[in-house]
């Protein structure tokens, strides 16, 4: 009976049964149960890993092989390519500006929708799908129609467009965060203690929304660092655009740059996550 129970099914009842089972039987049953469960788990995880890691491996192999031998030459050559630094810096500036505008717009909006206009939640659920289903070309035409003339000559126009693109990710992250605690009661508690909207937002809501904000920021940064279509149509050489241009003259360097971008993006995301963690630690110690 016990031997037929697979590992994931061993809840408290299973553990209790195990403790009452003689050692030899227990070892045998564990071997059988773990064996069965693990095979399935390993197959599932391996398939997923192969699906996602194989292209990366292929790209790495292509970028780091010269005349059939391993070589760093592809990576070393990136910085010498024309326009690399400008494109790289531009993409990071755009990521920063987009993230700041998105946070400034979406945090108060999401809080207001949850607190004051709960009937609008369904409307916003639908609205957040629009940037995903509307083609970037259409979005650009729309933005160009309403964008201030001064911005039309600068790459920061792209940041405005990216805010629209990032809106679903930012809003949905915040939405999930706001659903995870009793917003109304906590806001009322803060107000009854003398908290205005800004102090409530800063001292009470943002600390509770830290992981939601972090998740929104990570998605926004990743989106901006990888966006190609809008940048091309607006004729700005962001990093992804540079990679494609460069691919025509030096495909190996271009693929190496893509890998580098991936690594740098991961690094940035790790830094953002670590920054969030540190802030929490400081916040906790401050008053304790």
């Amino acid at each position: 009976m016990v031997a037929d129970v697979t590992a994931p099914e061993l809840g408290l009842r299973g553990i209790a049964t195990e403790l009452n089972t003689p050692p030899r039987t227990r070892a045998r049953s564990r071997a059988r149960s773990i064996g069965r469960g693990n095979v399935t788990h390993i197959i599932v995880l391996t398939l997923t890993a192969v699906y996602f890691l194989l292209p990366l491996y292929a790209a790495g192999k292509f970028a780091l092989t010269v005349d059939g031998h391993f070589s760093w030459a592809g990576l070393k050559g990136i910085s010498k390519q024309d326009g690399f630094k400008d494109a790289f810096v531009l993409s990071f500036k755009l990521a920063l500006v987009t993230t700041l505008i998105s946070l400034a717009l979406m945090v108060p909006t999401a809080v207001l929708v949850h607190l004051r206009f709960p009937n609008l939640r369904r409307f916003f659920d639908g609205l957040t799908l629009l940037p995903i289903v509307i083609p970037p070309v259409v979005l650009i035409v729309g933005v160009l129609q309403v964008a201030p003339q001064k911005l039309k000559g600068t790459p920061y126009l792209l940041a405005l467009e990216y805010v629209v693109l990032a809106m679903p990710f930012m809003y949905r992250s915040l939405d999930a965060g706001l659903r995870s605690f009793d917003l109304r009661t906590i806001v009322d508690a803060s107000r009854s203690l003398g908290g205005g909207w800004l102090s409530t937002l800063w001292h009470v809501l943002l600390p509770n929304l830290r992981s939601a904000v972090l998740s929104g920021v990570v998605l926004t940064v990743a989106l901006v660092l990888g966006e190609y279509t809008m940048a091309t149509l607006d004729q700005y050489t962001t990093f992804p655009v540079w990679i494609v241009y460069n691919d025509q003259s030096s495909s190996q360097t271009s693929v190496a740059a893509s890998l580098l971008a991936l690594l740098v993006t991961w690094l940035v995301l790790i830094i953002i996550a670590a920054f969030g963690g540190q802030r929490r630690g400081r916040g906790n110690r401050e008053e304790a």
């Binding site: 009322d188 003398g194 001292h203 929490r280 304790a288």
Partner: protein, 374 residues
């Protein structure tokens, strides 16, 4: 408990050496006088408050009691400033506060659901209101520690809400509400999420603290036992209106309306017949009060202790149940006709009566309430 007191006293001494005089000492300086004057509030077609008029004396604990949807929480939220009133005035110490935003009303509130800030420790939660009032770090920490000590939670000061039980969280919430030295303390069913044992202990603690600090308190509950045991006066609400405001004893013994009579405690309905100012019931004729439409054939409302049962072989009633409750025993008795009643009897007297015995039921109440028959 001893350990808690000892530890916190030491803390207090240490803090007192480095901080100004305790803030809490000033909290006892008289509560505010609160008046609702014809307050009306509607949500769509529903009138949650329908001309509510009631006053709360300084230092008094007034409980608003009623079924869900009766408007009691709306009344509290209007006083807190979380809801606006469509009409009427809310006066605190003679000043209409309707236009004052919630954050400037100085009202400490304990909510029904757990309302502690999840990312702050118990100490930070309690100190939050003082932080907003720009108190210095040592002052607010000292005050918060003192309040946590007062609710018996000094050792839990550094715990986060998720590390505390529901009862502890509500005690921290109470300390947090008191930290700002509120003019009025608002309690919105703060005990309803707790289990029975914790509820009773916390009920007594809240009442003792409230009396010690003398803070005017509005307490909203649907639990009559809570209201009757804690409040100086209880207001029973129905459909946005107050049916009666009275002391717990008066509310129980002299309910003004059939609704109050039946909402508070157990009430029997026995058929009777009115004539002039008297009503005939169970062979007795007694004076009555009640709504003007209840005349002629009526239901007479009598508490279980307002009836007496005597064993009688020729009696026209039969005992159907026997429930021992310590000093008293509650008997279920089937009267002739359709009606059945509860009768409370001293357990000594009830010991000779068993279910199935024929008995005679008589009225001992000297004044009764009548209602239209149901």
């Amino acid at each position: 408990m001893t350990e808690v007191t000892t530890g916190s006293s030491a803390d207090r001494r240490t803090a007192a050496a480095t901080s100004p005089a305790p803030l809490i000492a000033t909290a006892a300086e008289g509560g505010a006088h609160v008046e609702f004057v014809g307050v009306t509030r509607s949500f769509g077609q529903t009138r949650a408050l329908d001309g509510l008029t009631v006053d709360i004396a300084p230092g008094e604990l007034l409980a608003l009691l009623g079924p869900s949807g009766c408007g009691k929480t709306t009344a509290l939220r209007v006083l807190a400033g979380f809801e606006h009133a469509d009409a009427g005035q809310v006066m605190v110490d003679g000043r209409d506060v309707i236009a004052v935003p919630a954050r400037k009303r100085d009202m400490g509130m304990v909510f029904q659901s757990y309302s502690l800030f999840p990312t702050m420790t118990a100490l930070d939660n309690v100190a939050y209101g003082l932080r907003l009032r720009k108190q210095s770090g040592p002052v607010r920490r000292h005050a918060a520690q003192e309040l946590l000590d007062m609710v018996g939670l000094a050792p839990q000061a550094k715990r986060y809400p998720h590390q505390m039980s529901g009862g502890q969280q509500q005690r921290v919430a109470l300390a947090r509400a008191l930290a700002i030295e509120p003019r009025v303390l608002l309690l919105d069913e703060p005990l309803s999420a707790l289990d029975a044992k914790v509820r009773i202990a916390l009920r007594d603690q809240i009442r003792a603290l409230q009396q010690r600090l003398g803070t005017t308190t509005l307490f909203v509950t649907h639990d009559q036992e809570e209201a009757l045991s804690m409040a100086d006066r209880v207001g029973v609400m129905r459909n946005g209106r107050l049916e009666q405001v009275a002391s717990p004893t008066e509310l129980y013994t002299q309910p003004a309306t059939p609704f109050v009579a039946e909402f508070v405690g157990t009430m029997n309905r026995i058929p009777g017949q009115t004539a002039d100012q008297q009503v005939m019931v169970l062979g007795s004729t007694v004076p009555f009060t009640g709504p003007p439409e209840a005349r002629g054939v009526v239901d007479v409302l009598v508490r279980p202790e307002g009836l007496a049962v005597t064993p009688d072989r020729n009696g026209d009633a039969i005992v159907t149940s026997h429930s021992f409750r310590g000093a008293v025993t509650r008997l279920g008795v089937q009267l002739s006709g359709d009606s059945a009643v509860w009768v409370d009897l001293s357990s000594d007297a009830a010991s000779t009566i068993t279910p199935g015995d024929p008995v005679r039921v008589t009225l001992t109440a000297t004044r009764v309430l009548v209602d239209v028959p149901q």
